[in-house]
């Protein structure tokens, strides 16, 4: 049993490749079922986002498994040959695979470090895999752990606190003007993609009312229905501005739609309650002179971008803390995986029952000092035979299920039934991750062999 990840991401493949490889959500299940039908592939989770396509899998043999997954990826896309694909693929096994998954989940490998979408996407991918029963003991545990690591990183570092997208920066600024967005109204003037995204962020942060105006009245009505807001006729929006706490402008107009006088009037009508104006249109639609109006706060696209740049720099610092956490968590994960190996479990079980037997036999023999040595042997034989019969089925099952997909489940069960983890498990040399995992695009056979080396692979001894 080996954990392996094969995939490509924004770091190794251009968008032309990524978009061709991406698996739409509706076809994830089908793809997973196909993946697990390959011989030697026991478990699988397929993570497909706009920035990465990765297959996390548990396979019998690393090299064969890598080949299969590569085949699987290329097969899904007839337009993409194996030769075109391979140079962009990277693959990791054992501790490095775990580390990679943790970093991905914690958004340390994302294009925008600390963005929160990836965790939802991972959860989604995991749910699909669960629904199609393509995960087993190992994947379940590893993915769940990845999700909890991501949550830990988010709560213990400030990595996700600072806005790093323009649309989100608008929310951050809004919160410095309004402490509570619930009672606030946002007016959307024009509906570019970025404005819609910003509006969605604002709604997610509690903005109560949405008013929308676009040049095409029908469009405004449709959007209003979508956002649960009201449509405002385009020629009247300036009169309506006073009712808006936040004004989000993004139209294709080539001139200023909103002048300083309009804003001045709106602020006066609002009895000087502050107003937050965001202009994400290029060319700008709000006259920059609005900056000089008291209690009106105007930010254009460059201001927002500037804020984002600052935050990115801070996130990189926080990411360093997060990397340390990931390393810690990988170590605990490895300890668990080590416990799933069959051979040490059999050894531990044997030792466990032998210890029990010896203790009980010694106790009885101490009470029966008159027994002859022949009788003593008999008693010992009796004890051995009972103990052996008791564990016989367990031993046989463990040995026969070694290579089946339910093997780890049996190992886990045996360890729990016999409470094997309460005593020190037999020591084994497992190389743990002591340095940040190196990720390189793997196309060459050498690097593949290096990963398959028994020293770095976690489960070689089990087989």
């Amino acid at each position: 049993m080996h954990l392996i990840v094969v995939g490509l991401s924004h770091k190794t493949a251009p968008v032309e490749i990524r978009e061709r490889l991406a698996v739409p959500e509706s076809r994830l299940g089908e793809a997973l079922t196909r993946l697990c039908s390959y011989p030697g592939v026991k478990e699988g989770v397929l993570l497909s986002t706009c920035n990465r396509v990765e297959v996390y899998s548990v396979v019998d043999d690393i090299e064969a498994g890598y080949g299969r997954i590569q085949e699987f990826l290329a097969d899904a896309h007839l337009s993409l040959s194996s030769e075109q694909l391979t140079p962009h693929l990277y693959w990791h096994t054992g501790d490095r695979a775990i580390g990679h998954l943790f970093r991905v989940a914690a958004s340390l490998d994302s294009m925008i470090i600390g963005e929160s979408q990836i965790l939802g996407q991972l959860k989604g991918a995991f749910e699909v895999a669960l629904a199609h029963k393509t995960t087993g003991v190992i994947m379940n545990k590893v993915v769940k752990k990845a999700i909890s690591v991501a949550k830990r990183v988010r709560t213990e570092t400030k990595i996700s606190e600072m806005a790093v997208s323009v649309s989100y920066a608008a929310v951050e600024l809004a919160k410095k003007i309004f402490s509570n967005l619930h009672e606030k109204t946002v007016l959307l003037v024009g509906a570019g993609e970025m404005a819609k995204l910003a509006a969605r962020h604002l709604i997610a942060h509690g903005v109560g009312h949405v008013r929308i105006t676009t040049r095409t009245p029908q469009h405004a009505v449709e959007l209003a229905a979508k956002f649960g807001g009201t449509a405002v006729p385009f020629d009247q929006f300036k009169d309506d501005m006073a009712s808006a706490d936040i004004v989000l402008v993004s139209t294709g107009a080539a001139h200023y739609l909103v002048g300083a006088e309009d804003v001045h009037r709106a602020v006066r009508e609002r009895m000087n309650r502050p107003m937050f104006l965001i202009d994400i249109s290029v060319p700008r639609n709000i006259d920059p002179a609005v900056r000089h109006v008291d209690n009106a706060f105007l930010f254009d696209i460059d201001d927002l971008k500037h804020r984002v740049e600052q935050n990115r720099a801070e996130r990189v610092q926080e990411a360093e803390k997060a990397e340390k956490m990931v390393l810690e968590e990988v170590t605990t994960m490895l300890d668990w995986m080590k416990s799933l190996e069959v051979t040490p479990t059999i050894v531990a079980l044997r030792t466990h029952v032998d210890d029990l037997k010896r203790a009980e036999v010694n106790k009885v023999l101490a009470r029966l000092p008159h027994l002859s040595s022949q009788d003593r042997e008999l008693v010992e034989g009796l004890a051995s035979s009972i103990v052996n019969k008791l564990i016989h089925r367990t031993m046989v099952t463990l040995k026969t299920e070694v290579n089946s997909s339910s093997g780890p489940a049996f190992v886990e069960a045996a360890r729990r039934f016999f409470a094997l983890d309460q005593q020190p498990a037999p020591t084994q040399s497992i190389k743990t991750c002591t340095e940040p995992p190196r990720y390189q695009a793997k196309g060459s056979a050498e690097s593949g062999v290096e990963d398959a080396d028994p020293e770095t692979s976690t489960h070689k001894q089990a087989r």
Partner: protein
């Protein structure tokens, strides 16, 4: 014992001031708890000092001006701790604790003076306490106003620095400003009324137009207009912030008037 506790209070508040100020200028959040802890311990010592004075025999004697200042500082810290407890706005300490330190230093530096209005002890107690509570309200409004103006300036000039990230939202500060005036104004009104009654009993006239009384009435009128403007014609946000800063100057001048009167310079 009481004097030692007073010194401990002063030292703790001073250290807390330094700690709060460096908290506001550095990105790390670590100092906030240290600063708050220092303030809280200082507050406990301060409470002991005030409690001891209250019980120490001469509770029948009217409060002296230094004692009133000490009470003022105590209330400032109390308000800080309450707001902190409810809203966790650590940066507030950087503005409030220094004010408490200043008034405590003055309390220590100014000589204990016998109040001029000796015979009317009860009303004088009310007068001093209520006026000081009113002053606390206006001081908090002033602090909220200053914080508002800073945050307004930072937002307008797009300087997203450490202070920007630590200062609370503008409308919170505006709300704090309003609440403080709404609470402070009736207290000051009652303070002035009880002061006038004391004067009437002691001297036979309600108003004698000494600097204290003049400035107190100017202050009262000023905040009356500020409050009225806010409720009717929307004097809020930046304008309210500016007005409360000016109003605070009136409060300070009134207190200066009290000191001068106590020294008999202008009585």
């Amino acid at each position: 014992m009481v004097a030692a506790c007073f010194m401990i209070t002063l030292v703790l508040y001073t250290v807390a001031t330094v700690s709060f100020l460096s908290y506001s200028l550095r990105r790390s959040e670590a100092l906030s708890q240290v600063s708050l802890g220092l303030t809280a311990v200082g507050f406990a010592a301060h409470t002991f000092v005030l409690g001891a004075r209250m019980f120490a025999a001469s509770s029948s004697a009217p409060p002296s001006f230094p004692e009133a200042l000490s009470f003022f500082a105590w209330m400032i810290i109390l308000v800080l701790l309450v707001v902190e407890f409810r809203h966790q706005i650590h940066v507030l300490g950087s503005f409030m604790v220094p004010l408490a330190v200043v008034s405590l230093v003055l309390a220590a530096a100014l000589p204990e003076t016998e109040p001029t209005l000796q015979p009317v002890l009860k009303t004088l107690w009310f007068h001093v306490t209520l006026s000081m509570l009113g002053a606390v309200g206006f001081t908090v409004a002033f602090v909220a106003g200053v914080m508002y103006l800073i945050q307004d300036r930072l937002l307008k000039s797009k300087q997203f620095n450490v202070l920007y990230s630590k200062l609370p939202a503008l409308d919170f500060l505006d709300h704090l400003n309003q609440q403080s005036i709404v609470l402070g104004f009736p207290l000051l009104t009652l303070g002035i009324v009880t002061g006038a009654i004391s004067a009437q009993i002691a001297r036979g006239s309600y108003v004698s137009w000494n600097p204290e009384q003049t400035w107190a009435l100017v202050t009262w009128l000023f905040y009356f207009i500020v409050l009225l403007g806010r409720l009717t014609v929307g004097w809020r946000a930046k304008r309210a912030a500016y007005l409360t800063v000016i109003g605070f100057a009136c409060v300070v001048l009134t207190l200066v008037g009290v000191v001068l009167k106590g020294h008999g310079v202008l009585s």
